[in-house]
Symmetry: C2
Subunit: 643 residues, 2 copies
Amino acid sequence: MPEVIFYPDNIKIEVVEGENLLRAAMIAEVHINASCGGDGTCGKCRVIVETGEVEVLGRGKLTEAEIERGYHLACLTNVQGDVEVRVPVESQMGDSKILERERQIPAWGHFLSAPDVEVMATAWKHLSPTRKMFMKLPPPTIEDNLSDLERLRRELSRQISLKEVVIDPAVLKNLAVNLREKDWQITLTFLDTDDGTYLIQVEPGNATKKNYALVVDVGTTTVIAQLVDLSEGKVTAKASNYNAQISYGEDVITRIIFAGREGGLLKLQSAAVTTINNLLSELVRKAQIELQDISYMVAAGNTTMTHLLLGLDPKYIREDPYIPTISSVPLLKARDLGISLLESVYLYCFPGVASYVGGDITAGILGSGVFQSDKLTLYIDIGTNGELVLGNRDWLVSCSCSAGPAFEGGGIRNGVRATRGAIEQVRISRETLEPMILTIGQSKPGGICGSGLIDVVAELFLSGIINQKGKFNTELKTPRIRMGENGAEYVLVWAEEAGIGRDITISEVDLDNLIRAKAAIYAGITILTESVDVKIPDIERIIIAGAFGNYIEIDKAMIIGLLPEADSERFIFIGNGSLMGTRAVALSRALQKEAEKIARKMTYLELSVNPAFMDRYISALFLPHTNMDAFPKVMGMIREHRA
Amino acid sequence: MPEVIFYPDNIKIEVVEGENLLRAAMIAEVHINASCGGDGTCGKCRVIVETGEVEVLGRGKLTEAEIERGYHLACLTNVQGDVEVRVPVESQMGDSKILERERQIPAWGHFLSAPDVEVMATAWKHLSPTRKMFMKLPPPTIEDNLSDLERLRRELSRQISLKEVVIDPAVLKNLAVNLREKDWQITLTFLDTDDGTYLIQVEPGNATKKNYALVVDVGTTTVIAQLVDLSEGKVTAKASNYNAQISYGEDVITRIIFAGREGGLLKLQSAAVTTINNLLSELVRKAQIELQDISYMVAAGNTTMTHLLLGLDPKYIREDPYIPTISSVPLLKARDLGISLLESVYLYCFPGVASYVGGDITAGILGSGVFQSDKLTLYIDIGTNGELVLGNRDWLVSCSCSAGPAFEGGGIRNGVRATRGAIEQVRISRETLEPMILTIGQSKPGGICGSGLIDVVAELFLSGIINQKGKFNTELKTPRIRMGENGAEYVLVWAEEAGIGRDITISEVDLDNLIRAKAAIYAGITILTESVDVKIPDIERIIIAGAFGNYIEIDKAMIIGLLPEADSERFIFIGNGSLMGTRAVALSRALQKEAEKIARKMTYLELSVNPAFMDRYISALFLPHTNMDAFPKVMGMIREHRA
């Protein structure tokens, strides 16, 4: 991996080839002025590339003379090899003193890039639930005049000794034509289930190589779909989009309420299906395959998403004692839900554990191999709810923390989802209290997304702008701290640099919401560990799942007390764990059975009725935590920064 | 049964109570003038009721004086008990001589009325494929927080030791609400199949008594449906209507051709489904039940009708080597075909034997118990095709004779289907050569239906108007015999008595068609018996199935050589055998298995490639047959009549 050295700080960092220089500086904690989010318009992130190869995306307002002297805009420069970069004083925004801190905790743990994590579970055989087989039948005569189907049954028995096979009615539709089209040479698609073998498709000729599965993670916000080549065992196309249900409510509770309205359930179901169908079209186009090449579908979602996809009223999910209609889902025909796959294609829906620990979590535990590991693992999926699983191959215990939508930008005045223009990384200069921001897509900032919010809280705290309770130190001399509509606030982006025509701020009310959200998750972790009588240092592995998780910087998350303090080596970012699980069961029927076992064996703790939870929650309403002994490194950092 | 004595002939006949006097005379071979078909307008069928009770439907043009003397119009008079009736001379249309013939062969064999024949198969246990069961579940709590479905599964295992049950996805839809509506008291509907037990419905409260099956005979012309009460084991409502496919073609061949046209198959499929759905609505209304009370559906039809109902292209049924797509049909969801039953209701379709011996015949063999009888039985179903089965409990051999649509009125100038106004019975006076006719619904004659055609041919032959080859004796002195557009013809009804504004005639061309049709069937019977080396007198039972069969008079059918000559005691009329079979499998899963066995074990003879068939056919192109030794009684009758 290329190494970037930042002068005059002399801070070294390894980055992936093609990494953006501004992002590299951000991760290295090297402060560079950057107020436009990285789109090249503010022209403040000027750096001098002294040696090494870079890719120049643009020059912005740099003069010819500056260009000649090696000036680049960091946000428009990508690393192509080892690079030495000097940050001129003006780009540090008048910092009189050079920053001399180093990361006590690396920002990232093991970040697994997509090819590594198609499936993390190990020791499974690639044997998909659906398989294709080529066969020749003897043509009929007046003497051998069995019907087409009986002839096929006879040959299945004769040629491959398959006597018990359930014929899917959809197979009959064009059976006569399909058998005759290539002179009684056909490709059969079988689906193996616990209830027996199903014949689900008969195609003319040899189509054995064309066997794909559609796998879908049905998220409350985003639906992600992939096409898995079942013969090659790999992903051939990817697509994602917002869950169209969003127009009926942002979170699961709002949708459950909407589902109770006249026609509401149907609208939500159709919205999910429409989203999936659009992704399906996109995948088929991208992969240049035919719809009939898809023989299987796997979906995972939280319990409410699963209910809505299946058209089941989720009403009782939010009424004490919180009982879903279904946890383990029978094999269904995708078409019966309105999904535009062939009539005979079945859908496997991941089983959930409880109303608030759904199939997406089961899928994550499966795909990430937690269920088969000796290592005591904490699996964290942070979204609107924080779902937590603690365990190993022998036991699994789970809970869901009503974190609220803060980390998805909900309830935060300038909170936004992780879309283009969302501020995803933030640094605040300890000296000038000026911010450095980076946005998704490096475009004009429009708000702050989850990872940016974690950064903001951590940086406000480290720079002494807020105290342990999240209250502002209004004594500090900077125009960025002021009284706003919701009390004290910090201006992260001035209106003229923002893409929304007004200041982007973070207020005490926002901070309160964020602290409550992080406290809920940390309290959940505490309850889980206590329930099985282990200590946080006993946790050998912490798996962070969810697209959002990928952008969390561990150290910042620890500083605010969202994640427990632990050695960075123990962290693994797996991206979308749910999708990993869907791939796993598309490729292996044995893993599908494991998924059912996981859901059955996982213990669920209902925190809302747990008397200890409120106590642990209140203890966590501080930065990083009331019990500072649990955060020795963080406390060291704070002391150093405050010094 | 009431006895009717006709004077002056002194002919006695037993009839069912309520029998019409004109029909009684017809069966008794007592000639009464009747040219209007029985609707009371011609006023010619005047009789005197001397003793006994009758129901008077009308008086027509009878004068007060006549009424006082006991005059009745036979067609408007029904028998209510033993009756003595005098036929005045004028009503015999100037017959100078009293008819002195008696029936050598009774017109009817064993006519089984509907209640007797719900199912003729014996020794089966009433154990329907679907059954209902009442159950109470313990309500959930925070501690016992299984999902609704898992709770149900657990209780199935605990309370009735049912561990392996396939949950139909449709059950999930309102499961949450259904469980809670009557405080966790529910009625479960199970479907037992060879692949296991399916849970197909969960209703609130106790609905165990409400369990019905929809059974349907899908005929090419008529679709007949019944509602079977599965707990009581009896039919609760009946309905029938034309198959709406008729608008796309009258017979199976025309429909197969239409199915090959753009969109044709779909139109035919929809037409069948629409017909069934309309009948379903009618049945539900008549029986005053709810749609959800119907838990099962059974259908039987010929192979083409089955294919069209299932949406399968019947193309190869009419192409050498005549291979249907399907003979044994997997259990299907009725809703998948468009039938308006609950989503979870399965349809059992009777298995066929070959392209021209379909599920309706299998159903008939099942329902009539032929498959379990020691008696050598000939089963005859005459429609457009004549399907024949010969056999007993040990073996069954079948064939189909392309009789053409003559007996359904097709290809006959004045041929009509058996609807209101169709002439269904005919007598011709040996002396005057004047006809006596009776129409369906006793309304103005509009044409001649199958049974009427058989009568016409037999009567023309017996009265010497036509010879053995079906050619007219134009020497006879009656205005009714004349030269028409199609050569010689006989006028059965004059235009002024007809409901269609023109004479109703039967021509040599018509006769030719009828003789070819009967020859095909008789040749089929011959081939069947020869194939297993039995003689016609060895046949112990002849079962006539099909609504049409009910109106055939055996003796007339023997006279024209359509049926083999046999003792009338050997004949059994069972009405709709196909429907009888559908009721059988709705009531007994064991019989459903028998149906599959029957279809598998039945041998099919393809007559179109049978070298002996043409020879037997040509021999049968005479009245009654070239081989007169096979028809000794008929020959005796002919000699007597001609004398």
